[in-house]
Symmetry: C2
Subunit: 467 residues, 2 copies
Amino acid sequence: MAEAAAPRPSPERLTAAFAALQALLGDRFSTAVAVRAHHGKDESYHAPFDPDGVAFARSTEEVSAIVNICADHRVPIIPFGTGTSLEGHVAALQGGISLDLSGMDRIVSVNPDDLDVTVEAGVTRKALNTHLRDTGLFFPIDPGANASLGGMAATRASGTNAVRYGTMRENVLALTVVLPDGRVVKTARRARKSAAGYDLTRLYVGSEGTLCVITEVTVRLYPIPEAISAAVCAFADIKGAVDTVIATIQQGVPVARIELLDDVQIDAINKYSKLDLPVAPTLFLEFHGSKAGVAEQAETVEAIAKDNGARGFRWTTQAEERTRLWQARHDAAYAAAALKPGAKFWATDVCVPISRLTECIVETKKDVALSFIPCPIVGHVGDGNFHVAMVVDPTRPEEIAEASRLNDRLILRALAMNGTCTGEHGVGYGKLDFLVAEHGEAVSVMRTLKQALDPLNIMNPGKIVRL
Amino acid sequence: MAEAAAPRPSPERLTAAFAALQALLGDRFSTAVAVRAHHGKDESYHAPFDPDGVAFARSTEEVSAIVNICADHRVPIIPFGTGTSLEGHVAALQGGISLDLSGMDRIVSVNPDDLDVTVEAGVTRKALNTHLRDTGLFFPIDPGANASLGGMAATRASGTNAVRYGTMRENVLALTVVLPDGRVVKTARRARKSAAGYDLTRLYVGSEGTLCVITEVTVRLYPIPEAISAAVCAFADIKGAVDTVIATIQQGVPVARIELLDDVQIDAINKYSKLDLPVAPTLFLEFHGSKAGVAEQAETVEAIAKDNGARGFRWTTQAEERTRLWQARHDAAYAAAALKPGAKFWATDVCVPISRLTECIVETKKDVALSFIPCPIVGHVGDGNFHVAMVVDPTRPEEIAEASRLNDRLILRALAMNGTCTGEHGVGYGKLDFLVAEHGEAVSVMRTLKQALDPLNIMNPGKIVRL
């Protein structure tokens, strides 16, 4: 990795910074090997890079003080939430400290009348929804992992509900951030829309810790629908399943979730989650609305599915069955990894215009069918986004090489279809070159932004853009 | 105006730039007084500032060449669409050229299967919807004026449909922009979501010509709903009307439009648009969905309205009646201006969290009731956004002073309620100080962005941030 060879802080600088951090944080600053190792790796196959130390912050003011110390001594800072990212976002490529925000887990203010909530960055999406349970409101963005809101904002996360409710891009109203010089800035107020100047909120959403440390997040909430129903539908072939999704979206059915799992993935989750679904390309769906509205949506989609070779369309309003279904969906990547002992998953993440989705998935299926690596496919196909969860043993170079080859081909296929190399996982240090392939000259604008807003290059260096 | 005293290009620079522009554009470069005067003013009360010349571009390549010439000679460039902005956005505060994009009016590509369209910046929203009429799709963003898509993107416009469909922030998928050094950049591909690097699309949406010239816009389209119905409902008092809106939003009714017009505004549009609505606080509503869904929504809102003192709730599925209603709504500002001969309107634009909306409007009503200026109120209240269309004669300093006083008080009231000084009109040169009051230290980040991305300060100088 070229990034690993980048300049690291000298031992003198680290020593000075560490002394100041210890004075500030006491035993909430750690250089223990196990703590460092935990903070240098995420859930992906990417090589971990341990930070030199880990600082556990409790408040925005403390984050500001930590950033000031690191800026004084030119020590890199890598924000850390739950470590569930997938492109090596938390790897300390150039050393420095991991800034663990999981202790910043206060719900700052719930505003049920305004349908919004402000939380500290370390609050996880499940903790938030648990807290909200008596308000009649919920926070829909659901990337599968129980990620922190700060991490979800930093990576522009989305997931299964995005087809109806949007991604973090659409749902973050405002951020409190600490700039690389320690200043604290609020990017917006709580009005639901604003034309007041450059959109700093959207600039920092998806910036992956490279421009600032996000310490508070204000997000939109939604009334829990009067009725929710879920459906499962198997298809004769993958084309029928994907064409059903496309027709559903094109007809404007406000489906809340519409997820594809191919035969390989269904087989994996049957084993992992003890289900007995028919091993075939399958859609998992969810409908939100009034009782009549939900029934109407389900009927419309059932008719579309029948036209596309559906083998039965089973729907339910039972909460338990729904929960079981979505838990299985969320465990899809772990189910994939469980196909082989000691394996991890390498999740691809392309997203294409929906008109090209069938072609992209069918071609990809052909490609991976010829490979020796198990390649379940699962996807948020309502957005044109799907993942191949390639099951690899990271210790076997031939498997990594093969997965890399398949990933390259998939991304070039998606880019040729006017798609993106990453729909929701982000760039981290795993997709630096693909970002250039995708954006061309626009990457130079991103580089200018990075240099202007983080002139010392201490904020998660080596991620998103190379300097 | 401090801005007017800012450095202007020397006559030598202008002469050199004009010679090059004339060589490039022939008679599509003009220094005629009438042409210049047309391009230095918008629809607002703000003082116009004529540019030194006007360049009419026909393509992205031509825009790039024009920008290169202006960069070479340090001549300011002010992009111009239809001139319907409201905060002096097109005023040539420091001279330079107006870059008229209205000739860039090609529909580049309609992708009905992907629910998106790419247009040149000069295409207006009405022209776009006319072009789309046989596709079953429509573009919902509707700021009232028949603005260009480039201008709407540049000002982060929204309007009556935003409560359901979002603003330009949510609906622009990608932009083609010319940077201040003439480079052409595409900000994104056509995938509906992406986590590939910094969100340049959102950075340029709302940048008001200060960072780039937008030359192409890709936006989302929506299926024309199976059923549309509209409703009109008068209330005993303004509190009842606003509380109806709040309850509707909080109950998650997916209303497409929910607009407030106060008694003064109803009186004005009765006269201007030849209607005979009861002179009382009134909501105009529109529902989109299936036939059953639309009926269900209307019934729900009718029940809420009754609880809040509604005096009758009249709904219709007739297209003609609907069109007449919304045309009257769109003409509200002109109806206001028509209250006094020779008058113009000064449109305020605050947006507050919806829980504070009743209080904000009621206090504002009290305030303006004591003024000698007619002050109709109209608003996209589903978003918490409303306008006081203050009717002023720009030649009478005492009227401008009074409107300014009312505007100051309104904005401070909204900021104290965690709102914004502009929900959809933008900053231009009319709200520079309010931006600072609203954002504080965050404005310094905006200034850093401006300096990094437009180091020569030739892109619409004097707007959004002072340097």
